[in-house]
Amino acid sequence: MTDITCTFAGDREQTLIAYLYDDIDASERAAFDGHLSECARCRRDLASLGGVRRRLASWEPPQVSSLKAHLSPSGVQPAAIDRWYRQIPAWAQVAAALLFLGVSAAIANLDVRYDASGLTIRTGWSRPASTVAATTPPAAINQMHPVSLVNRDDLAALEQRLRGEIKTAAAAQPVRTPSAVDADTIRRVRALIDDSEKREERELALRVAQVLRDVTVQRQADLAKIDRNLGLIQNSTGVEILKQREAVNYLLRVSQRQ
């Protein structure tokens, strides 16, 4: 391939590339034109690299939805806000959630236990079972509370208390009105879903076409194989018939002699 000697005086590769992309001085171009008329190797390289460029031209990146879907008309800040949570590592988010639960349980003085008497859940406003257990013998406990742990009154009190807490919390929490950010988020999600569905459909069409093509190729290969096998069978059958005929002829000849 590279056995043809090139006698170009300058840096061949650099000049070849500059010539290929037409990013070259007029004088250099003229000089290389002259060289090309004499050098088959450079002509061949130029032609093959030009072929590579033509094939590269077929590479189109996939279409994407405009960044308008990600950047709001008033600027880029909402998108930046939208992405802040992605900068927090997942482990930190999980840790924060666990911390929140732990703090909530501590505030409520939550006491969860599971023993022979079943599941018991107490909060700070219920009488702590541990105190009773520490100061009162088990027999006395049974006397005082035939159903020793959660009774109906406790549950009612807990329910009342929770209802009150929830009502207070709801009143304290500002009413969140649907904002423009929400609407924008919904719109973007819908756009993404639409895009995704379209992609799926087209991908499916292409896959089906590929499968069809593969099936066709396989079918042609199978047909060719069957043809070949049939040919072999015919050949062997022909040979067999020939042998049979020779045997019959031989027998005839022998029988005529006798």
Binding site: D11, E13, Q14, L16, I17, A18, Y21, D23, S48, L49, G51, V52, R53, R55, L56, A57, S58, W59, E60, P61, P62, Q63, V64, S66, L67, K68, H70, L71, P73, S74, G75, V76, A79, A80, K198, R199, R202, E203, A205, L206, A209, Q210, R213
Partner: protein, 188 residues
Amino acid sequence: MTSTDEELVARSIGGDADSFNELVLRWERPIYALAYRTIGREEDARDVCQETFLRAFRALPGFRGQAKFSSWLYRIALNLCRDWIRRERRAPLVQPPEDVDLVELAAAAEPSETIEDLVARRDLTQTVERAMALLPEEQRTAIVLKEYHGLTFQEIADLMNCPLSTVKTRLYQGLTVLRRELAKQPTV
């Protein structure tokens, strides 16, 4: 009348968000294409593209017009791509092509094209993507900037912080590898 990039930049610095959005509309496609061809992953290319404009927006007050706005934008995008490649610690992957747009393009340009032709074209695209993914980052970037963005050798050298002769060498070496790889796959 269409404003130049420089005019839009000046107005954006003055606080006109619409002007910046105009710049985004004008340059999002080239920047996305650059990112996709450099790192080869659709979602990540989209993130790089978005991050490029976010960074440009934040850094806009510091932009003094030493370079063309497009060159400045390309530099931001290339730095982000480089960061991505280093962060991932792997050669850029070429996604299984989601080039479904090819169908749209083909349908729009050549209504008579059959689905088999589309598949064949997609195969060709895949071949090019795979061959490009084999190149070292510097060669691939040089080829992408020259081939698909039409930058001059000097502009590429400025962007890549290397001598002009190095750019040409990278192009030659990259194209030579591509020639060899593409020769293994017949043209469709």
